[in-house]
Every structure is written in C-alpha cells, then in structure tokens.
C-alpha cells in the first residue's frame, strides 16, 4: 500500500464538528473490528466514576496521620502506591513532593497535559489550558494569585514540569485546624488543587471562592486562540 506523504493531514478529512468526528471514528473502527464499543463505555466509567481526586486525598490524609507511612511515601512512593494497587496508566512512576514551611510545590506539564491519573483522575480544563502551560513556569506567583493563593516572598516556589513519565503529587501541609480530625472528616479538607499546588487544604464547610466561571472552551479571555491543548 502506498504511503501517502499527506498522512499527517488525514485529520482534515474528518467532519468539522467534533461530535461527528467521534461518531465517524467510532463507526469506522467498530465496523472494522478494531474496537469493541462496550470497552469504550468501560473506559469512560473508570474515569468518570471510579478514579478521581478522592484517591489522592486518602493518601494525603493517611500521610498526615501516620508518620511512618509518610516517610515511606516520600522515600519510595512507587513501592507504596504499588502495594496499595494505586499505580496505573499515567501514574506508573509517581513522586510525592512535600510542602513545608519554606517551600510550596506546584505541578504543570508545559509540553502536553501529564497528570497523575490514578491519583487525581482526568485533569481539569485549566490544567490543560495554554494559559496555565505557558505561565506556570514563568509566573507561578501570579498564577497562584488567580487561584486566590498569595504566597509570601519568604516562601520559595518549586515548580515541577512533568516532562517525562514521572508524575508528581503535592503533599500539602496539614492545617492546624484539622487537629483531632480523622477519616473522611480529615480527607474532606484535601482539595484536588492542594495536590496540584494551586491551592491549600480547605475547610469543607467553606465554599469555593465566589467567582464567575465562564466556559473555558469558549472564553475569549485567552490571548492565544486555543484555551485547551494537549
């Protein structure tokens, strides 16, 4: 079969509407016996209903309560997570980085959207946006300010750009207000953003800051025309 030099642009043959693109690809692949539709439903079910930030929050809460666990987690997270059967696609090699009095950690993937899927699920739109990918390494402090987090100059920021197959999870500092809390009551303080580094643990009784949240996909606020990228 001839190898068309224009293979790279075969995508332009798809219909413009992405919903129809999905339908076309699904139909073709299914008719050719290359995919099994129930497998697609199963994949969606895993990421929609089974895997999410509650898994990472469990680990953080346990590390807060159990110093021996925390020590092993920071030293050899891959073995610990493997024993807990929490490794998997996009989390085969995980490193846990600890926030301290002196240092705040922030995770990004400037080249695509690498993220610890087995611990946090699928990344939110802003994590995949051009704006975050562009600015997190250059202007982490102003990025954090947009999440309502102002760090003092005395605190160093360490940004982790996930450029290979190591995935990073932030272990936030335990708030003093959580003294005495256990189990779910403690876990509920651990927000997804606190494990990415764009937030801190938060009293679950307090609602998220009031902000207008326009649709990130159609927001004109971007300087670049593409708010979401892979």
């Amino acid at each position: 079969m001839p190898h068309d030099h224009d293979d790279e642009h075969a995508h332009s043959l798809l219909p413009p509407d992405p919903q129809l693109q999905v339908k076309a690809l699904e139909t073709i692949l299914s008719e050719k016996g290359l995919i099994d539709r129930p497998a697609l439903d199963a994949i969606i079910d895993v990421y929609q209903n089974q895997i999410g930030p509650q898994i990472g929050a469990d680990i953080v809460a346990r590390a807060w309560q159990d110093p021996a666990f925390k020590e092993r987690l920071l030293k050899d997270s891959e073995a610990v997570l493997g024993e807990m059967e929490l490794s998997g696609r996009q989390g085969e090699h995980v490193v846990i980085v600890e926030n301290t009095e002196d240092t705040h950690n922030l995770v990004v993937c400037t080249l695509c959207s690498c993220y610890p899927w087995p611990l946090l699920g699928i990344p939110p739109s802003w994590y995949k946006s051009d704006a975050y990918r562009r600015r997190a390494v250059h202007s982490p402090r102003s990025v954090l300010a947009e999440f309502g987090l102002e760090l003092p100059d005395s605190k160093k920021i360490r940004v982790w750009d996930s450029t290979a197959e190591i995935r990073y999870l932030v272990l936030p500092e335990r708030p003093v207000e959580t003294a005495g809390l256990k189990g779910k009551a403690l876990r509920d303080w651990v927000t997804r953003d606190s494990m990415i580094g764009t937030g801190l643990p938060k009293d679950p009784k307090m609602d998220a800051p009031k902000m207008e949240v326009p649709d990130a996909e159609t927001s004109p606020a971007e300087t670049s025309p593409a708010p979401e990228t892979g």
Binding site: D7, L13, E26, A39, C112, R158, D161, T163, E165, M211
Partner: protein, 227 residues
C-alpha cells in the same frame, strides 16, 4: 524549530480555576474521544510517545485552533491512516470500506479495560551502563540548535529550559527515550534525571529569581557544566 505545543514560559491569558467543580467530561463526546484514543492505542500499533508526537505534528493553525480533545481526535485519525488501519476514503465516507482487506487485530474488550488501565505502560528499563551524572552535579542542557529537536522530531526538552544551567537533584533510573520511541526507532532507554533550575537562570524577568523549576530530563539532553 519550536513547535506550538512547546509553550512553557510564554506570556499567556487569564486562568479560569474551577475549584473542583468542573465535571470530568464537560461534553459527552470528550469521554468518547478519550476512550477511542485509549482503545485504539491498545491495539499496540503505536506507543504513547508516538501519540503525543502525532498531536504535536498537527499544523500549527490546527494545533492552536483545536480544543484539547479535538487535538486527540486529529492525532488519532492521522495515526490510524499512517498505520494503514483506516484509509483516507474511509475517513471521508465516515464508514468502513466493506471491500477493504481484513486486519488482524485484537480489540480491547470491556473485560480487560480495568486490568489494562491498572497496568499502564511503565517506562523504566534496565541498562548495562552506569549513570553519567550524580546528584549534586551541575549540568547544562543542550540548546535546541544542537540538534536535540529537529523539525518534526519529538523531544521532551522544552525550549525554555534548553541551553541553560541546572543541577541534578534525582536520578530516576533509565527510562524509554521518547525522542527515539516516538519515531519507532526502539526504546533506546537512557538515564532520566530530575534537574533543578533557578527561575533567574531560565528567565531574565523571573518573578522571584530564587524560585525553582524542576524538569525530568534524559541523559542525552545534558552535558557536564564547564565552570
């Protein structure tokens, strides 16, 4: 040559936090696009590095115009055609050609999804050589003009961190080298290092020059720093 995906350090627009409120898949087709990409990947004709490269090699206009999952779909379509699993005519007709020759493939079944996702694709490999660098070493990263990144060649050294000085803070053993793997030239495993840079060394106008940026970089991206 810098491709549009390599955008770290560029000025950008406002970030719109969701504070955990956004649904996992904002549109029904988002989940479907992700599932299709994973299921087609499970056929084993290409690897994750090739998948990333397919998205990076989209024409710049398309890369900049497409939303996240549109890039996934476009990359998938191009891989399906270049690997001769789907023809251009089939893409155009939006259905399979009944006269196309059968393809010997083993599609991912629903029963295997959980196990396949749990296994993932570990990239650590054993190599016979010793690592060139140790923790604490100062290194300089290759500049992209030195040939790490040829046009349309995949690399995981971002432009903003190329030609800069940093310090080794971790050795993560040897891993598959994406620069080779993405082009089906073998796994070519190399030692992977955590390399720490000072913000002031990467950006003349850093917000806080003592802040740090850490990247995971392969041995061939690095040279010992001559002081």
């Amino acid at each position: 040559m810098k491709k549009p995906h390599d955008m770290g350090g560029l000025p950008g627009g406002a970030i719109i936090p969701d504070f955990g409120k956004e649904p996992v898949f904002k549109e029904g087709w988002h989940g479907r696009a992700l599932a299709l990409t994973l299921a087609a990947g499970a056929l084993g004709r290409w690897n994750l590095d090739a998948s990333r490269n397919a998205r990076e090699c989209l024409p710049a206009d398309d890369y900049n115009r497409f939303s996240y999952y549109e890039k996934w779909l476009a990359g998938l379509a191009n891989l399906l055609v270049s690997h001769q699993l789907v023809s251009r005519e089939e893409l155009k007709d939006r259905r399979a050609d009944k006269n196309a020759p059968d393809i010997d493939a083993n599609p991912l079944s629903a029963a295997k999804v959980s196990a396949v996702l749990k296994t993932g694709g570990p990239t650590r490999r054993k190599v016979a050589v010793a690592p060139r660098f140790t923790v604490g070493d100062f290194v300089s990263t290759k500049s992209l003009q030195q040939g790490v990144s040829q046009p349309n060649n995949h690399t995981r050294l971002p432009y903003y961190a190329s030609g800069k000085k940093g310090r080794i803070i971790a050795c993560h053993d040897a891993h598959i080298l994406p620069d080779s793997h993405a082009h089906f030239n073998g796994e070519a495993p190399e030692y992977l290092y955590g390399v720490q840079f000072l913000a002031g060394d990467l950006f003349a106008d850093a917000e806080h020059p003592e802040d740090e940026i850490c990247l995971d970089l392969f041995e061939s991206y690095l040279e010992p720093l001559k002081i």
